[in-house]
């Protein structure tokens, strides 16, 4: 599956106005959404390619070449995305005493005690009704945008697949991915015919000790989240999916739809393609 994209940067002061303009254009109310985005990275033991013993006696020389080629293939970062509700965030002011007493009952960490000593009451995490075991997830793989396309849109290979609920890390580890970090995306979504418009910004979690190694099981309050872009500006992303990227006809139709949207929004924002290397997902 392919994805065609255009982006625009939206300064904070324009945000409210643009929301209204988009609502008018798409004839729908904005859908406010929060997404947890976990970043996973494909891993491979260094140097493993040279010395392995396996049940591979039946390997032909052509096969060997193929295997070698595969071993040197690209590896990617991929994201696991889970939608959350605004009610999943902790209520400011309500802090759970139990959290202090036993911050991580499921996975007692030997280091917890020492970390606990350094913790004061301010950094304790307020709790909510958020149930991590019921969190739904989907795998979102995005390739690096295609190079050398003459079209003025960003286009890339994509795949999205629903994953089981709850803790996804063991499965991801087994599949060859390790957890790197996570962030939150807050924004509004509009649908304009076949185009999805996302007006969003990236929020960072408050740094809490002991939670960097795995996805958070509790959500902080929304007020504690800090925007990545200090000015608080937003990004408008217009995206369109194409089932078969090798079909030039549909790809062209899709770009034309996006260009049509760019024309319609010309007086409000400038939609343009993104720098290819800024969307590089390859592991180097």
């Amino acid at each position: 599956m392919h994805e065609l994209l255009l982006f625009a940067s939206v300064p904070t002061h324009q945000h409210a106005e643009l929301l209204q303009q988009l609502a008018g254009l798409t004839a729908m109310q904005p859908r406010h959404c929060f997404e947890r985005r976990l970043i996973f990275k494909a891993y491979r033991k260094p140097g493993v390619a040279n010395a392995r013993v396996g049940a591979s006696q039946d390997l032909q020389s052509g096969d060997l070449q193929r295997v070698n080629k595969m071993l040197n293939g690209g590896m990617f970062y991929t994201q696991v995305v889970g939608p959350v509700q605004s009610t999943d965030f902790a209520d400011a002011g309500v802090t759970d005493a139990a959290a202090n007493a036993n911050p991580n009952p499921v996975n007692p960490d030997p280091d917890t005690d020492t970390k606990m000593d350094g913790m004061d009451s301010e950094s304790s995490i307020p709790r909510s009704a958020y149930d991590f075991d019921q969190q739904s997830w989907q795998l979102e793989f995005r390739d690096i945008p295609e190079a050398g396309t003459r079209s003025a849109v960003t286009s890339r290979v994509m795949a999205t697949a629903a994953l089981p609920r709850g803790d996804i890390v063991p499965s991801m580890n087994a599949w060859g991915y390790s957890f790197v970090t996570e962030y939150l995306v807050e924004g509004d979504m509009f649908i304009h015919n076949d185009i999805v418009l996302n007006l969003h910004r990236v929020l960072h979690y408050p740094t809490t000790p002991g939670e960097e190694n795995q996805p958070r099981h509790q959500m902080p309050t929304l007020q504690q989240m800090a925007p990545l872009e200090k000015s608080g500006s937003y990004v408008l992303q217009a995206s369109m999916m194409v089932q078969d990227g090798s079909n030039q006809e549909t790809m062209k139709t899709a770009s034309q739809h996006l260009f049509g949207l760019r024309e319609q929004l010309k007086s409000a924002v400038r939609l343009e393609m993104a720098d290819r290397l800024s969307l590089d997902t390859r592991v180097k």
């Binding site: 392995r52 070698n68 075991d133 019921q134 609920r165 063991p170 580890n173 599949w175 960097e212 795995q214």
Partner: protein
């Protein structure tokens, strides 16, 4: 989740399979039952292996031979809500320094289950060897423990494509086998599914015949299922039968072992030689035990159970039989 057993009778590449023979034996062994075909079923299994493990033995320094790692994709028409992915647990440390392969919370309750079932499998394998004499012990011991994941059916093929596209340095698609025109019968308290196993990738060839025997008689495990669903429907307050709270994990193991005996008796009665058996494979019953733990936990703390999702009433249904299928269909590639 019913208790099942899976038998696989290998065949030579160009010979016909034992399917006709088995059907005939079923007919003659159970003359009282009229063998009515109740329907059809299908299966598809895709086997992936770790790419580095495919390299020939290097002449380099003496390294301990690593165990091959597998990732198996299985879809069964009788569990059409989800597909199964069965993956070897990571042996290497993840590259990321923070993730020092610490077992994550959800994996923790599963681990003792795995071990318990592994022990059970050892016993079962012994018993099975006595009757069929063809259980391949080496395959079970040669691979690392495996992790079962079920994914919604829509994701099943997408994920497979993802791994073939974006994970070439560590996963390599080795073969695909399918059962296209399986049939099933009810014989007494058993449901028997039969089918020809054909390999479709990398080449077309016959692999053999597969038989799944499902115990549909009374079972403690079924009542466990009922407890959870009734709780979800909100019809009962606690949702937990009093008798269930007395249930221990060892009871579950005993239940599995007892049913395995019944299935073996059934198979002996059919009397087809040369079959590979998979009943008490590693990890079998771990979801049942997990559920038991959760029900007990829910009773004690009043906490929520993981209920059905909107599109899948029970995401864990069929994991046991999936394990068994994947055990017998993990050909040496």
């Amino acid at each position: 989740m019913p208790v099942t057993g899976v038998y696989f009778i290998p065949a030579h590449p160009n010979a016909s399979t034992a399917l006709g023979n088995i059907t005939e034996r079923l007919r003659s062994s159970f003359p009282d039952e009229d063998l009515i075909q109740l329907g059809r079923w299908t299966l598809e299994q895709k086997l992936m292996r770790d790419t580095p493990g495919l390299l020939p033995t290097s002449s380099g320094p003496n390294q301990r031979p690593s165990k091959p790692r597998y990732m198996q994709f299985l879809s069964l028409s009788h569990y059409h809500n989800h597909g199964f992915i069965y993956t070897s647990e990571p042996t290497e440390k993840p590259f990321h320094p923070h993730n020092a392969a610490s077992p994550s919370p959800a994996a923790t309750p599963a681990t003792p289950g795995l071990q318990g079932a592994g022990a059970g499998a050892g016993v079962g394998a012994g018993a099975g060897a006595a009757t069929t004499g063809s259980v391949n012990d080496s395959t079970t011991s040669n691979i690392s423990p495996m992790l079962m994941t079920t994914v919604p059916h829509s994701s099943y093929s997408t994920l497979f494509q993802h791994f073939t596209y974006a994970c070439q340095p560590f996963w390599c698609h080795r073969l695909t086998v399918v059962v296209q025109n399986g049939v099933f019968y009810d014989i007494g308290d058993f449901r028997v599914r039969l089918g020809d196993v054909r390999q479709t990738y990398p080449t077309n060839r016959v692999r053999g015949a597969v038989v799944e025997i499902e115990w549909r008689g009374p079972s403690v495990i079924d009542s466990l299922d009922g407890a959870v669903t009734s709780d979800v429907n909100g019809e009962t307050d606690s949702g937990v039968d009093v008798s269930l709270s007395a249930l221990e994990e060892s009871d579950v193991d005993a239940e599995f072992a007892a049913t395995a005996l019944l299935i073996r008796e059934f198979w002996v009665r059919v009397g087809v030689e040369g079959a590979r058996e998979a009943i008490l494979v590693p990890g079998v019953g771990s979801e049942v035990k997990e559920r038991l733990v959760k029900i007990k936990g829910a009773k004690n703390t009043g906490g929520g159970l993981s209920g059905p999702t909107e599109d899948d009433p029970n995401p864990q249904a069929g994991t046991d039989v999936a394990r068994q299928y994947m055990e017998v269909l993990r050909f040496n590639r």
